[in-house]
Symmetry: C3
Subunit: 185 residues, 3 copies
């Protein structure tokens, strides 16, 4: 069978356990997770395999976990055991702390960018935040695995930390938003 089945040519599609319009909020939610995942692929392709081998490993693991998120969102409630568990969030938290510890502390917002890999990680950050918003909308209308929301919330903080670490490692540094109030305490 070819990958193009033509079955979605008129705007309807399958999920696990049902059929929906392609613009259904559930499809929008896992479609946006897929979008975020594609940008993680971008970020990985910018890393220096020696200097950033640790981060490349973590990002590949995160790509697997974003598929777990997508899998939980694509299945109608009860159709399949959930794949996202609290341990995944517990594993992210110390990573955030340790990447952040590589960078000089800041009190003000910083401009997203710097080293090309850091710029790509900030893009991942904002994409994960958009995915989180779409999952929030879905969660108001249908039952979802609540761990997916917690995971995505932590994940955008992970990308913030990782971007800062890359700018620290490469001596690029971060530029502050000059009119920022004190926001990080």
């Amino acid at each position: 069978m070819s990958i193009y089945t033509r079955s979605g040519d008129r705007g309807r599609t399958r999920l696990v356990g049902g059929v929906r319009d392609k613009d259904d909020i559930r499809v929008e939610a896992y479609g946006t997770v897929d979008e975020a995942n594609a940008f993680v692929g971008e970020a990985i392709s910018r890393l220096d395999s020696v200097r950033d081998g640790d981060l490349a490993g973590h990002l590949l693991e995160i790509q697997q976990e974003l598929f777990d998120c997508g899998a939980d969102l694509a299945a109608l409630p009860g159709k399949r055991p959930y794949k996202v568990h609290a341990e995944m969030i517990n594993r992210l938290e110390p990573l955030i702390d340790s990447y952040l510890a590589e960078a000089r502390p800041v009190q003000r917002f910083i401009l997203p960018g710097g080293h090309p890999a850091a710029a790509a990680l900030h893009v991942c950050r904002v994409l994960v935040r958009r995915a989180e918003r779409r999952v929030v909308t879905l969660s108001q209308r249908e039952e979802i695995n609540p761990e997916v929301l917690r995971y995505l919330n932590r994940l955008s903080d992970f990308f913030f930390a990782a971007a800062r670490a890359i700018n620290a490692r490469t001596g690029t540094g971060d530029i502050e938003y000059v009119r920022s109030p004190i926001v990080f305490r």
Copy 2:
């Protein structure tokens, strides 16, 4: 006349044959096609002109065709003959088959990424899928050229195939989603 006409400063804008709010679903639809097109520009700029000359040619043709999609969506029904025709879809299908044939068959989902050009092609894939969702929403409310939907549906499969071909050509390969069920048959 300058390109900045200031006429849209308060949130209204022109399409072909009418005036709408900028957040009208029709504007959102062709705006998202424009967004997808910009990422195709990105992907082209990553290709190796020798090794991937064939794909560069196809992507430039696709950029022209995404403008055809945008043109059909920007014109109110009846204002102008449609530009997207069945032949455009018929031309994509054998290309999908031949790019996919370059890669080792897989049965499981693969992580979007790999070679920088493949990563960019996966980004195109997800952007085209978002454009498709927006056009689906539009099509539920207003008359559109149905060939645009078929074209976009096939186009995201084209980008999947092209990404796999680049990872095969460059010896990068694709990494499977480890907890994936068998999905490609």
Copy 3:
């Protein structure tokens, strides 16, 4: 205090002067401005520091100003004096003219892409246009600083001009959409 406060784990979040669902249109609006800003970071990281030093400077200034936009959108009306003022738009306009003057005039739509930095600038263009659409939606429901809308409208024209300038400077040139009507007058 760590950056992950866990307080947003269930889909609610703080803005300046209130609490909202994360998928509230106000959060969506400044979240999309943040997304656009991340891609400006990408574009900057592609510039040649010698040839494009002027543009790098302008883009860093624009990143600061996108934070000003975000700040105005994140604060409920009356909570804080606005940061986006007419002078910011007045400063953009002559820059648009002078970047456009570097490129050969065109009458037809051009394909987004070309030099990698120009491709990235076209991506900024479409992201700013999406941000503008989200701010338009917000402005229909709640009070906002109207200068933010004017700024974003002009900013996407700035990115169009800057992309054309880079393709001119690098001898890349722009490819026209072959079936385009005469659109630039």
